[in-house]
C-alpha cells in the first residue's frame, strides 16, 4: 500500500518533471507553489528536473508528533552545492511548508517547527548541483495542529 503510493508519487514526479520548464525563480517567494493544494502540483511547479530519492539526506522528525501544532523538523545533507531545501507535508491543506534558499556560505542544515493537521508523509527535497534529491518519513499525529 505504502509502496504503491510512493511509486505513484514518484511516477507523478517524474512525469511532471518531463513536462516541466522552470516556472518560478527562487529569487522571489514561489507563491503558487505555496498555494498549491497537493504535493504533485507543488513539485511540478517548484522543481524543474526529476526528483530522485537519496540516502544522503537526513530528515529528523519524530515518528509520533507530540502535538501537531509544533513538530520540530531538521534537514541536513552531505550533498554538495546545496541551493535549496524544501519541506513538504502531503496531507496538509497546502503541502509546501517551507523552502530555504541557501547561499555558497551555507552549511546545509536547517531546522524549523511546523504544523501538521493529521498524520502524513513528510518529505524534503534538496537541490544540489542543479539536481533534486529527496527523502521522506511517515509521521503520526495524535493531536492535530489546525485547531490552534
Amino acid at each position: 500500500m505504502k509502496l504503491e503510493r510512493r511509486a505513484l508519487i514518484k511516477g507523478l514526479l517524474t512525469a511532471a518533471a518531463v513536462l516541466a520548464v522552470p516556472r518560478w525563480l527562487f529569487a522571489a517567494r514561489p507563491d503558487k507553489a505555496f498555494d498549491a493544494k497537493d504535493t504533485e502540483t507543488v513539485t511540478s511547479g517548484l522543481f524543474d528536473g526529476p526528483v530522485v530519492e537519496s540516502d544522503q539526506i537526513t530528515l529528523k522528525i519524530p515518528d509520533i508528533a507530540e502535538n501537531g501544532a509544533v513538530v520540530p523538523v531538521t534537514v541536513s545533507t552531505d550533498l554538495p552545492d546545496v541551493e535549496s531545501i524544501s519541506v513538504i507535508v502531503d496531507n496538509n491543506p497546502t503541502p509546501l511548508a517551507a523552502m530555504f534558499a541557501l547561499s555558497p556560505q551555507s552549511v546545509p542544515e536547517v531546522s524549523v517547527r511546523i504544523k501538521m493537521g493529521e498524520s502524513s508523509m513528510v518529505r524534503t527535497v534538496v537541490k544540489s548541483g542543479g539536481n533534486y534529491y529527496s527523502t521522506g518519513k511517515e509521521v503520526k499525529v495524535t493531536i492535530g495542529g489546525c485547531g490552534g
Partner: protein
C-alpha cells in the same frame, strides 16, 4: 512593525550557528475563533532574510504551516567574532521586523 526577533548566534570552529525565535501569530486562515465562530484571517510570515555583514546567507520562504512563534535554526561558514548578523521577516500583511546581533 512586528515584534523583535530573538536571536542566538555563536561560532563553533569555522561554522556559525544561528537560532531565531520570532513572536508571530502565524494564523493559517483555517482556525476558527471559539468566541466569534468565524475563521481567523490569514496572518503569517512569508519570507525571512538572513544577512551576514550585509550579504544574504539564507532566505527562508514560508507557508501557513510554520508553527506559531516560529523557530528557525541554520548554519553558515565564514563568520568571525565581531561580525554582524541581521534577520528580518515580512508577513502577508506587509508587516516587517528586523533584528541584529553581533557574533561574540
Amino acid at each position: 512593525m512586528g515584534k523583535p526577533i530573538k536571536i542566538k548566534a555563536k561560532i563553533k570552529g569555522d561554522v556559525a550557528e544561528v537560532k531565531a525565535l520570532m513572536p508571530h501569530p502565524m494564523e493559517s486562515g483555517v482556525r476558527v475563533d471559539a468566541d466569534t465562530g468565524e475563521a481567523v484571517p490569514k496572518h503569517y510570515i512569508q519570507e525571512v532574510v538572513c544577512k551576514h555583514n550585509g550579504n544574504v546567507v539564507q532566505t527562508a520562504y514560508w507557508g501557513t504551516a510554520v508553527s506559531k512563534d516560529p523557530y528557525m535554526a541554520f548554519k553558515f561558514k565564514g563568520a568571525k567574532s565581531g561580525d554582524k548578523l541581521e534577520i528580518s521577516w515580512r508577513d502577508n500583511t506587509g508587516d516587517t521586523s528586523v533584528s541584529e546581533v553581533e557574533f561574540k
